[in-house]
Symmetry: C2
Subunit: 316 residues, 2 copies
């Protein structure tokens, strides 16, 4: 087993493309140390303001580290990516961008940006607003292999080979399995988050730069249809289980509308019971709220729940 | 504060109807002791077989206890229903009914019934098949108030006043808040489950008879759009947090199709890695698997995950 370090000066890429030149060629079992800028590629800075959100150049977003070529990987195999270590930068940010989140533009018509202090590191917490602290639980929002025959494919939509899956549960100690779709797998990662809830409902996680270490293991002949996850022992929400939860629900004939209704009800609840502004409530749902499909068979009405942990509320 | 007992011989009702005669009139703060038969109203018995599933008379299902008239409750208020105690019967069952679950009829064309031993009670576990044990975590699948102006409204689809919400998280110690939609609230409950995952994907929870005690508190002037839940301190999945989880994901432009793909991938995984039959794997997803919307903003692809806890796998 070897270790490889892909430095910060290595080229990055902003589309999936089978012709992207690998930044490293590794064997199954190897560990790779990598680093990426935040999803904006450094466009958002510590001193940025709300108006820097609409000014983002979307042609330069998602600078991914990679691709990494895994010797012997062929379509029909699976690539197991174990998250060995994640080291977020000492600051990050979250934002609202009108029309891009779960709720439509007319409900949140203004851009909004909040910068966070991450000096407490993984295992610590960071302040959203007075009396609200978000646990820092880092993961990589984008982890994926190149789609079959991929040529200049945009990064933002996830695909069956993973990519921008924004899966909050791929924390350190977890293993993501991905189907290999091109020879060598051509794995890339980036879009680091210091925190995010299931759904990432407001379009943004807690975006940050990150250094990270991953172990790659080839599972020859394991054919899987999409991403799969193996979690280590323990709760999926270990940072907040000491306190309770509040849940709001959308009962609708469409799951997407159910999700919207659940989040709207949570935003109202957080305003009424916790005194949060609508913007901070929406961000809180995005950074620490979890969407669950609690019922999907009682035709013709399905139920989506938005769950926010009480542990985020601290003495103000 | 008073306590009321509504005996097993009290009338039940099988539709929501504002003209249903209340079985009790109570004040805010009162506790009510109730009991219901399983969702089938006793049509499934301990010695029932697969062929008793298609023979079910759907005109006699969902015999609910209630309605309970809460003095002073008016539309615009909320009714808080605290789950004080739940005592499941000593046996229960789960089933597949072609075309009624998340997956279509052609994937599971045959009815399937499994009877479970619940003598271990809440806090214990019950065997699904060799090497698989389901934690017994009872709740009431149906808890709701009469819809506004309700006349002979079928029970199965949930509505904004709750009803057949099949919310696994309303366990003892939790409080469900419901909007009052008719004077007196007219609360009813039934459809007890000894276990169920988020989604209840195969159409059935672990259905059983149950005795239960609920405390009702009127929240005058608290107007909420739909059901809301307050959970006591602790993990949402306390029975399985000692071990890890496996997750499978559907990456699709439609959340319902994403849920189907996630469950299909889990059924394949459980067959390959745990040796489960397709029927038992589907039932396991329904009784102990949780659906989560892990990403809902990376247009045009959303992600639904199906999570099954390792703790259900025991020495065979």
């Amino acid at each position: 087993m070897a270790e490889h370090t892909i430095g910060r000066d290595a080229p990055t890429h902003t589309t999936w493309d089978a012709c992207n030149e690998p930044v490293g060629r590794i064997a199954s079992g190897d560990v790779v140390h990598l680093a990426t800028q935040d999803f904006s590629g450094g466009q958002i800075r510590r001193d940025s303001t709300h108006q820097d959100v609409p000014a983002l150049d979307f042609g330069a977003i998602y600078p991914l580290a990679g691709p990494i070529f895994v010797e012997g990987a062929e379509p029909g195999d699976a690539l197991a990516v174990e998250v060995v270590e994640l080291r977020p930068a000492d600051w990050g940010y979250a934002f609202l961008s009108p029309g891009l989140g779960l709720l439509p533009r007319d409900e949140f018509p203004e851009p909004y940006l909040k910068v966070f202090d991450l000096t407490a590191g993984a295992g610590g917490a960071t302040r959203l607003t007075n009396g609200v602290e978000i646990p820092i639980e880092p993961f990589l929002g984008t982890m994926g292999v190149c789609p079959a025959g991929g040529r200049d494919v945009p990064i933002p939509p996830p695909h069956r080979g993973g990519g921008n899956i924004d899966l909050r549960h791929v924390t350190a100690g977890s293993t993501l399995l991905l189907p290999v779709l091109e020879p060598g797998a051509l794995f890339s990662a980036g879009d680091a988050h210091a925190a995010q809830g299931d759904g990432e409902v407001a379009i943004s996680g807690l975006e940050c730069d990150m250094e990270f270490s991953l172990r790659f293991t080839l599972r020859k002949g394991l054919t899987i249809p999409g991403p799969q996850l193996r979690r280590p022992p323990g709760s999926l929400t270990p940072r907040v289980d000491g306190d309770g939860w509040y849940g709001t629900f959308g009962v609708e004939p469409d799951l997407m509308e159910g999700a919207r209704q659940a989040v709207r009800a949570m935003i109202d609840h957080l305003g009424r019971e916790r005194g949060l502004s609508r913007e901070d409530a929406y961000l809180l749902c995005s950074l620490a709220g979890d969407l669950k499909i609690t019922e999907v068979v009682d035709a013709p009405q399905w139920i989506v729940g938005c769950f926010v942990p009480d542990a985020v509320f601290v003495a103000g």
